[in-house]
């Protein structure tokens, strides 16, 4: 690629062949205003706003050219803000303001070039489209839906779908609304607003799952991505739609052909850290979850108050207003014997609720009511934080929030008992945050079967010993970390995970494993070669040795359950430490004990 140099506003800049003047200028942060330009679309030269004064090498005269379409040539002298340029742009903006007098960005640009009033008669003061064709190009070239195009000519020229009618070809991707510089196109959703389906989730088809994600790389949601949707809709005919992310990614990291793959690894230890899932708050109907967009779970609130969330961290109700009163209800779905709820304490919710109460006070100054049963501020610094939140002016109501009603006005009425007052209390609020329980993931039973883990009745994976072996499981080499074992807050999870990692390292560093001597052995002289034992061993530890005409047990694989011992019809297998003789001796021993003395 040949390098060349040109001069823009007296600054000597380098360019590569194939670049336009606009691209060179943008690369060198020299401002040139544009309306109909978008870096992923072919330049079109429709708005003429990027007009610049160009003098070619060796010529004494200059001409006005659009920077977005004019190639960068060696020796060009470009002026982006000369009197001629300004005069031309003033004319352009005058014409544009006459067409669309009420579009803010046009008004601003016109004012910049000295046009405050439309110089020509305005036909339709509500017109917003400047016919820049960005939407047409994005729809045809990128999305390849071919919905939008120009129709008619001259003063009647306009943009729209065929015959200006709704068309099923439109996939509702919204690309046209994003590129439109004047906001002339609106997407009308069947369901409205910011709280529609997936309200607090990602807002683009390619996104970083969350800011602290490891590895921190974006993923493509193939259900929303224009390229994948077009592939699906056209049965693969439209294979290369959009690709804006690919065009813009300088590292060339976007690969649309990547597929999920199954990787098989041989490992010496496994840490099960499958975490938790949120309990479905609509299971208990008294909390009215799902009946009002202003009844949200603590996790949804977390997203709402997140600076990178949909509201930029502003705490607002579904109507976009700051709430004046907020109720936070503890123990929703936990410490509850009702069907569908959990009897255990979810452990994290008290502190989460206090933090969220603090956030509400801090960001909105709304009145906050905390309905709690017991305040479990159990950790280091937690009690102090509880004190601080009380000093913030949060109203603490000791008693479970019994019911949330959606009033006809849209307000929410929370009723409950204040156990300290011994009275029923009610609060009419704008927003209710449910501190919902956390529970074992729905597929925990599959994971437990896969790793031979047992589960406690509350659904979490069972550790080998509740006090002394909290990260080990009963399956050798499989360890637990975090909420897979039970509800934990962040510091506890970090400690637990660190312990699991240490256990793994301790196991792997030794290079050898000690196994229990409680294994079964075969007396090859007694073995009748019936092979019954082979079928009962869950560990495939028994193999049949043809030469010896006998079964043989691999002691490294045998776990000592003794099933084969009980099964062997010839009595050829002995379970060490649990031999028949030992067990008979135990039984006999029981009845040689002296007679019991009644207490």
């Amino acid at each position: 690629m040949t390098k060349m140099t040109l001069t823009i506003d007296g600054q000597v800049v380098e360019a590569e062949e194939g670049m336009t003047i606009l691209e060179v200028a943008r690369k060198n942060t020299i401002p040139i205003p544009t309306l109909c330009y978008h870096p992923v679309l072919e330049p079109y030269g429709a708005c003429r706003l990027c007009t610049v004064e160009v003098t070619q090498k060796g010529r004494s005269w200059s001409s006005l050219q659009t920077a977005c379409t004019h190639p960068a040539w060696d020796g060009l002298d470009v002026k982006t803000n000369s009197p001629d340029v300004r005069e031309a742009r003033k004319m352009i903006m005058g014409l544009m303001l006459s067409r669309t007098p009420n579009v803010p960005i046009i008004q601003e640009l016109a004012a910049e070039y000295g046009v405050s009033e439309p110089p020509f008669t305005v036909d339709d003061p509500q017109e917003k489209c400047i016919l820049c064709g960005l939407c047409v190009r994005v729809c045809n070239d990128m999305v390849q839906a071919h919905v939008l195009n120009f129709s008619d000519r001259g003063v009647d020229r306009k943009v729209g779908p065929p015959f200006m009618e709704k068309t099923r070809q439109c996939i509702g991707c919204g690309a046209c609304t994003i590129v439109c510089p004047t906001g002339a196109i609106e997407i009308v959703l069947e369901e409205a607003g910011i709280y529609a389906e997936k309200p607090l989730g990602p807002t683009a088809a390619i996104y970083v799952p969350f800011l602290q994600a490891v590895p921190r790389v974006p993923v493509i949601d193939t259900d929303s991505c224009i390229r994948f949707r077009q592939q699906d809709r056209s049965n693969g005919e439209i294979a290369e739609a959009c690709g804006a992310c690919q065009t813009l990614c300088e590292a060339n990291a976007i690969d649309f052909t990547q597929q999920d793959e199954v990787v098989e690894l041989n490992v010496g230890a496994i840490v099960v850290a499958t975490g938790f899932q949120m309990w479905d708050s609509s299971k208990l109907s008294q909390y009215s979850y799902g009946r009002s967009p202003n009844i949200i779970t603590a996790l949804e609130f977390e997203r709402l108050s997140n600076a990178s969330g949909p509201t930029g961290g502003e705490i607002i109700t579904a109507d976009g207003e700051k709430p004046e009163r907020v109720a936070i209800i503890h123990c929703v779905g936990s410490r509850d014997k009702n069907a569908g709820a959990h009897e255990y304490c979810s452990r994290i919710c008290c502190m989460v609720s206090l933090k969220q109460a603090h956030l509400v006070r801090d960001k909105t100054h709304a009145e906050v009511y905390e309905f709690y049963m017991d305040m479990r501020a159990f950790g280091k610094g937690y009690e102090e934080f509880y004190e601080r939140v009380q000093e913030d002016g949060v109203v603490m109501v000791r008693g479970r929030g019994a019911e949330v009603q959606v009033l006809p006005s849209g307000k929410l009425r929370v009723t409950g008992e204040d156990a300290n007052l011994g009275k029923l209390v009610a609060a009419d609020v704008d927003m209710v945050v449910l501190s919902s329980a956390i529970e074992a993931p729905a597929d925990a039973s599959q994971v437990s079967t896969m790793f031979g883990l047992s589960r406690t009745p509350d659904g979490w994976f069972a550790e080998a010993h509740p006090k002394l072996r909290p990260v080990e499981t009963n399956t050798d080499g499989v360890f637990l970390a975090g909420c897979a074992q039970g509800p934990k807050d962040v510091p506890d999870t970090v400690a637990h995970a660190g312990a699991a990692a240490s256990m793994v390292l301790a196991l792997l560093c030794k290079g050898e494993v000690t196994i229990s001597p409680q294994v079964a052995i075969v007396d090859e002289k007694l073995c009748s070669a019936c092979k019954t034992c082979l079928s009962v061993c869950p560990y495939t530890a028994i193999s049949f040795i043809v030469d010896a005409n006998s079964a043989r047990i691999n002691e490294a694989l045998c776990k000592g359950c003794g099933t084969c011992v009980a099964t062997c019809p010839a009595g050829a297998i002995t379970g060490q430490h649990f031999t028949d003789e030992q067990i008979y001796a135990q039984i006999e021993g029981l009845f040689r004990l002296p007679e019991r003395v009644e207490a």
Binding site: S445, S454, A462, G560, G562, T563, A566, I587, L590, R596
Partner: protein, 147 residues
């Protein structure tokens, strides 16, 4: 077996190490109320329990026998040892009937490590049940037949 003339049943429990033995341990540590009539013999898995052990217990003088392990299908520490028990025990029941041992003297079932109260409940209920049935005295019967 009796003291002061009152019949106290002797019961042998064959329990698996991972589930019911743990439950029994927990029941004891938690001081759950249960009669002292059950003597426990620990196995690594109920799959190890041979029918002969049960007969041996009755022959030695037991008035009742309890077999208990991990809940099927997925609780077994050894994947499926409890399934072997599940298949074996109905046969044992039939065998005991043929020997004339009443149904109520033999219990087999599942209690997980977390179900200590269930274990205590079983011990209370089963002891009462065997007490009602009275002494088995199989050992004496066997001895008299041998003569």
């Amino acid at each position: 077996m009796s003291t002061n003339g009152k019949f106290e049943p002797r019961i042998v429990g064959f329990l698996c190490n991972w589930c019911t033995y743990t439950a029994a341990d927990t029941a004891g540590v938690s001081r759950m109320e249960q009669p002292p009539n059950v003597d426990i013999i620990r196995f690594m898995c109920t799959g190890r329990i041979e029918p002969a052990f049960i007969l041996k217990a009755f022959a030695e003088g037991a008035d009742g026998v309890i077999i208990s392990g991990c809940h099927p299908p997925g609780d077994c520490h050894y994947t499926n040892g409890n399934f072997k028990t599940f298949r074996r025990m109905p046969l044992v029941e039939a065998l005991l009937q043929q020997y004339g041992i009443e149904e109520g003297r033999f219990h087999w079932g599942w209690i997980s490590g977390a179900e200590a109260p269930k274990w205590a409940e079983l011990v209370r209920g089963f002891t009462e049940q065997v007490r009602t049935l009275g002494p088995l005295e199989w050992k004496q019967q066997l001895a008299s037949k041998e003569d």
